[in-house]
Amino acid sequence: MHDHPHDHAHGHDHGHDHDNEMDEMTARARALETILVEKGLVDPAAVDAIIETYEHQVGPRNGASVVARAWTDPDFADWLRRDATAAISSMGFTGRQGEHMVAVFNTPDQHNMVVCTLCSCYPWPVLGLPPTWYKAPAYRSRAVREPRAVLAEFGVTLPEGTRIHVWDSTAEVRYLVIPERPAGSDGMDAEALAALVTRDSMIGCGQPARPGVAA
């Protein structure tokens, strides 16, 4: 019944606790890289540069600065609504998996959530690489059907009457949720506001932190 791989498929998804599998995956990845480098098809320094980009440069703080600006600059917010690709590009956030951006604004009446049921489409230039759960079957299967139950697992409860719009990223269009500006944040500047904006709130699976509470 080999419970190791099967029953622990979930832990496996997270990859924290399976040293044996980790070793096997390490070996597989290393073997493939070795072959490709020996063939001159891959430059390991290019691999390093790609990793550096997504580990340290491109991440959800980009999106947070977009959101904070939308909260503080009505003209920018309008631009985001009209042409998010251009508005976001104007802040320097461009490229792979962000070529066609749409910003969706939460309101007291409507909450927005983003998913890719078919794979792992995600707006890299503003949010970086997707978290594990975003790519895993539980989120992909349930977000489009029972988003309130999913939100509960993130500790988020919406008022009963709030409508939920779930955007399934089936093409190359990528969505950024603009959460509502939290109460009590009057007078905060864009930089302070950006610190309130969590990654999950820009996917629609969380809310921004409240002022005075660590994000």
Binding site: H12, D13, H14, M22, M25, T26, R28, A29, R30, L32, E33, T34, I35, L36, E38, K39, G40, L41, D43, A46, V47, A49, I50, I51, T53, Y54, E55, V58, P60, T94, G95, R96, E99, T117, L118, C119, S120, P131, W133, P137, A138, S141, V144, R145, E146, P147, E153, F154, E160, R163, I164, H165, D168, S169, T170, A171, E172, V173, R199, C205
Partner: protein
């Protein structure tokens, strides 16, 4: 294809497990798989649609037991084998036994950031759209054996067009051919009741992007 990737509305996958925003990777090999996958793109043996198809073509027993980076590694290996760039003998040996086919296209470290920052837009000149915002459409019973981006849960359902995106590369064709075959792309919005029947969440609306060949006009 009605493959393991077609997850929307399926049951049995358990709870979502949130993780901290600061987690970027969970093991060093994940980084290498990310980097290798992106570094192999410029070899131009495949495109984004054929690489998605390679991932969804993994057997369900494997797909559902694998982390997403494992899915990437398996699909990348399969794509490289199919392209003739690597062989099972080399994978077994852990070393190259033959020269590569396209070392001239090898991505350099210097070029990598630019390639990532440019990305690859999918919009193209193409046919004028047949539908407009506000039109009622029914998705077709479109379930080819090959690649498609029409999810099963949204098949044969009536929705409303809420955005027209111009013509985009058509994945159903492009996954199996170098031809891009651009088709008008729409955002189509559905009430959850239309998607899931009686026990749907009445406050839920779901939208997908749908290419024109997925759609028929629906009477009001």
């Amino acid at each position: 294809m009605n493959g393991p990737q077609d997850l929307g509305g399926r049951h049995g996958f358990g709870a979502v497990v949130p993780e901290p925003e600061t987690d970027r990777f969970h093991a060093a090999w994940e980084k290498r798989v990310l980097g290798l996958t992106l570094a192999c793109g410029p070899l131009a043996h495949w495109n984004i649609d054929s690489s998605r198809h390679a991932r969804e073509s993994l057997p369900p027993a494997i797909y559902y037991n694998a982390s997403y980076y494992e899915i990437w590694l398996r699909a990348l290996t399969n794509l490289l084998e199919r392209a003739g760039e690597i062989g099972a003998d080399e994978l077994a040996a852990g070393h190259a036994l033959r020269p590569g086919l396209r070392p001239d296209r090898c991505l350099t470290a210097a070029d990598a950031p630019g390639v990532l920052a440019r990305g690859g837009p999918a919009d193209r000149p193409g046919p004028a759209p047949a539908f407009a915002v506000g039109d009622r459409v029914r998705t077709r019973n479109h379930q080819p054996a090959g690649h498609t981006r029409l999810p099963g849960y949204a098949r044969g359902r009536v929705g409303v067009v809420t955005a027209v995106h111009g013509a985009h590369v058509f994945p159903d064709h492009h996954a199996h051919s170098p031809e891009e075959d651009p088709k008008p792309l729409y955002t189509v919005q559905f009430d959850a009741g239309e998607l899931y029947g009686a026990d749907a969440d009445p406050t839920l609306t779901v939208s997908i992007e749908a290419w024109e060949p997925y759609l028929d006009r629906s009477p009001a």
